[in-house]
């Protein structure tokens, strides 16, 4: 199978990730629950993962690195902590349902800073207008999961800092590929999955937190500390980690972090594969590409439409040819509204560190065949 759905999850992992996760089952007990070696080993593994993440993302202390089950979990924690019913939440035009749905459930008053696709200038202008003095919180998708649009988060973060507006960054598509400096951005929370660009197992994720006092638990339960307290402990990470941790996931995530930390050119590689594939698709007049080859605007996520062929049908035909892509709304209806693809959806090919130009060749030929059917 040629796997081009890495924006959903990276299917191919470094071998060390698979080995660590498999080894953890049966050897790592629950950290903080006992004094025996299997619990101590689990505690050590969890700590090393936090410490490496803190170093990689420039977080001042490992305690500020909270384990989650995915980015959605982390975003729900963050949105729940910083939003209130009826109060203004500024978002970009490209947010995922992992932001839109908890915001809707909370009754936040959403205001979308909508700029055109692949335009940093328009995005900055839109945020400048949207970040008013009544804004309670700003939530930004670093890289769109539909179009790969890399938003100007440094500038947006600067505006938030200047206006004293807490920022939540959705790093679902950027963690492990693009640079994220937690300290420099000054974000209140940064949520990321472990199983996409960090090449960890599914069921893993990280939430980087600035201030324990702003951390409101989403789950209440055992934390391995302060058991006599009725409330969750006040300190991070325990405050936001109720229940047993996913130790196979964390063990694998630790290896994934080591992999991305040692491979600084992953985003460049993904962009190169994308550009190679897009150059092939661009020769076909029946294909509409959502692409911008200027540096710094697009990650390894490529959406396109084949004129006259439903996107789901096209994805099915690619699957029959052994090529895995995603089609439809991609859980991000806001992005499609912004880009004008709400009625059609798109076919999305998303690349990883393990995809090759040879695979891109097969893909382009297959799309070409399908477009003639």
């Amino acid at each position: 199978m040629i796997y081009f759905d890495n924006a959903a999850t990276t299917l191919r992992k470094p071998k060390a990730v698979e080995d660590a996760a498999a080894r953890a089952v049966g050897t790592l007990a629950s950290p903080g629950r006992g004094a025996y070696s299997a619990a101590a080993d689990a505690a050590e593994t969890a700590y090393k993962c936090r410490a490496l993440a803190a170093n990689y993302f420039n977080v001042s202390s490992p305690e500020s690195v909270v384990f989650t089950f995915n980015a959605t979990h982390g975003l729900n924690i963050a949105v729940n902590a910083l939003s209130k019913r009826g109060e203004r939440m500024v978002i970009s035009g490209y947010e995922h349902n992992a932001v839109l749905r908890p915001a809707a459930a909370l009754g936040a008053a959403l205001a979308a800073a909508q700029g055109g696709l692949f335009s940093h200038r328009e995005a900055i202008q839109a945020f400048d207008r949207a970040l008013t003095n009544t804004t309670r919180v700003c939530v930004v998708n670093h890289i769109s999961n539909v179009f790969g649009f890399i938003q100007p988060i440094e500038k947006i973060a600067e505006m938030c800092r200047d206006r004293n507006i807490p920022l939540i960054l959705d790093a679902s598509q950027s963690a492990g590929a693009a640079e994220i400096d937690f300290d420099a951005l000054g974000a209140e929370f940064i949520a990321m999955p472990g199983h996409k660009g960090l090449y960890g197992p599914q069921g893993s994720g990280l939430l980087l937190c600035r201030d324990a006092e702003r951390a409101i638990p989403l789950l209440y339960g055992g934390s391995g500390s302060g058991s006599k307290l009725v409330d969750m402990p006040m300190d991070l990470p325990d405050r936001l980690e109720a229940g047993t941790l996913n130790m196979p996931g964390i063990a694998g995530l630790y290896e994934g972090l080591k992999f991305v930390a040692s491979e600084p050119r992953i985003l460049r590689h993904e962009s190169n594969v994308l550009n190679y594939a897009a150059d092939g698709l661009a020769l076909n007049p029946r294909i509409k590409l959502f692409r911008n080859s200027a540096p710094g605007l697009q990650s390894g996520v490529l959406s396109f439409i084949i004129h006259g062929i439903d996107c789901e049908a096209a994805a099915e035909r690619l699957s029959e040819r052994g090529i895995a892509v995603r089609a439809g709304q991609h859980c991000a209806p806001q992005a499609h509204l912004t880009a004008g693809t709400a009625n059609t959806g798109t076919i999305r090919a998303s690349f990883s560190a393990f995809n090759t130009l040879a695979e891109a060749d097969v893909f382009v030929n297959a799309v070409s065949e399908i477009s003639r059917e």
Partner: protein
């Protein structure tokens, strides 16, 4: 005091204790994570870093220099008794 007396540097949670232990180990101290006896914690779940008696003063000085915060410090005798110190 018995040479087997150790000291427990209390921490707010396991991660904080591991961070302290990691820091002290990096500085050349023998420091390990431990769960303090119930006599100190009142039966609550807690974590501490155990250090040898003769390294305590320097270990605390190193922590003070690092800015890493910690809780109370207890002497932990071989017979299981504990005693709060002024450290």
């Amino acid at each position: 005091m018995s040479p087997l007396t150790t000291y427990l540097i209390m921490c707010k949670n396991q991660t904080a204790a591991l961070r302290l232990a990691d820091y002290l180990s990096g500085k050349g101290f023998y420091a390990s994570l431990t769960r303090p006896p119930a006599g100190i914690t009142g039966g609550d779940c807690s974590f501490a870093v155990k250090v040898a008696e003769r390294q305590l003063i320097q270990a605390l000085a190193a922590l003070n220099e690092s800015g890493l915060r910690h809780g109370k410090v207890y002497a932990y005798f071989p017979d299981g008794r504990t005693q709060l110190t002024n450290a």
